[in-house]
Symmetry: C2
Subunit: 195 residues, 2 copies
DNA sequence: CTTTACAGTTAGCATTTATTAACTTAAAAT
DNA sequence: ATTTTAAGTTAATAAATGCTAACTGTAAAG
């Protein structure tokens, strides 16, 4: 294929792949190095520490997610369509990253590592805020129920998508994580009960 | 408090607490032992390996979840109330296990560890089957929308709960994971959109 | 040409980890 | 009263891990 990738880039990709397919316990310098045909020590020519690789992986995911929300908002759609578009964009990013970052969130939000926590926390807060605004607008327009908490629901959005990754993995499926994004969105929007 | 707990029991509780509050990387014999005032070697008087502790934590959660579905079904409630009761029971188990199992699911579903994966897989399939039956009954009775897939929706149940654990962890909250279970159930049932 | 910088190597160090072995002690069983 | 067992200890081992240091080759810059 296109072997034009720099070693730095290969490290990031191999690292993400390990997290996705083998779990955090296998995210070690040796495993990453093996995967791309160098030695573990060579990793440190490109990154000061393994933590730095994780930071890079997270930051890339975060910026893509944030951008995708902004992109959806800029389309000038109705509130309902904006919300749906945001979800669709999020699902797209998730598919491409196979849900690696949720795993990282789970682990590093609790690892006592302030650096990670601050990055992840800031991201989640930012994302929640952006989404909350759309939901709040929906409430003002009489579209969304008044008794729901916008920021709670925003987190539900994010979490729900991540849970789909779990189902995907547990059912040993191949192909897309979310078969029918619009069905999922519709269930969240209109519930599962008739009328 | 009630110091009547056996060491074995303390190990399981301390282990779960470490997983939820400090992450999997800190799930080590030494950390568990420190938490309950014994040495790491003493752990092995009660469990053959650390993996065995994880298996025990997962199995307990699983059997309680399964039981709670059966219990809810036996109450002879309406389909709608049965579904709600199942969710309430599941949330109760989740709270009592402090959300450790969803975290483990995320990690071990991709760790390549066949032992863990098989346990989780069996659980998910079983749980999905039981719940699907209730949902299907709901569809036959005209309660639940026809265009939803029962087993997909069963997984949605599980996923919703995972989403809540994610939010709980990311927001560094204390206390209950799900503040208002009935609100959550209602959102799933009736959606977030008005009418 | 020579120098310098880069990107890799091998070797090694300090630490951590899971686990085991050998020993102690106190309580329960005989 | 003696033996056995359970549950703890300390000490040790082997392997893995993160990371560093010293070295090597290559290729661009001067």
């Amino acid at each position: 294929m296109l072997e034009e990738l720099s070693t730095r880039e290969k490290i990031i990709l191999a690292g993400a792949e390990i997290i996705i397919h083998e779990g955090l316990k296998r995210f070690t310098a040796k495993n990453i190095a093996n995967k791309i045909g160098i030695t573990d020590a060579a990793i440190y020519k490109h990154f000061p520490s393994l933590d730095a690789i994780v930071v890079e992986i997270i930051n890339r995911y975060i910026s893509r997610c944030s951008q995708s929300v902004d992109r959806a908002k800029e389309l000038g759609l109705s509130t309902e369509e904006t919300l749906k578009q945001v979800m669709r964009e999020h699902i797209k990013v998730l598919e491409e990253t196979k849900g690696a970052v949720p795993v990282l969130c789970f682990e590093f939000s609790r690892s006592g590592n302030k650096k990670f926590f601050d990055i992840l926390h800031k991201f989640v807060e930012d994302y929640k805020k952006k989404l909350s605004e759309v939901i709040k607008k929906g409430q003002e327009e009489g579209l969304v129920k008044e008794d729901i908490d916008p920021s709670e629901t925003a987190m539900l959005f994010v979490g729900l998508i991540q849970a789909k990754v779990f189902a995907y993995v547990m059912e040993r499926r191949e192909g897309p994580i979310i078969k029918d994004p619009d069905q999922l969105i519709s269930e969240l929007f209109y519930g599962i009960i008739k009328k």
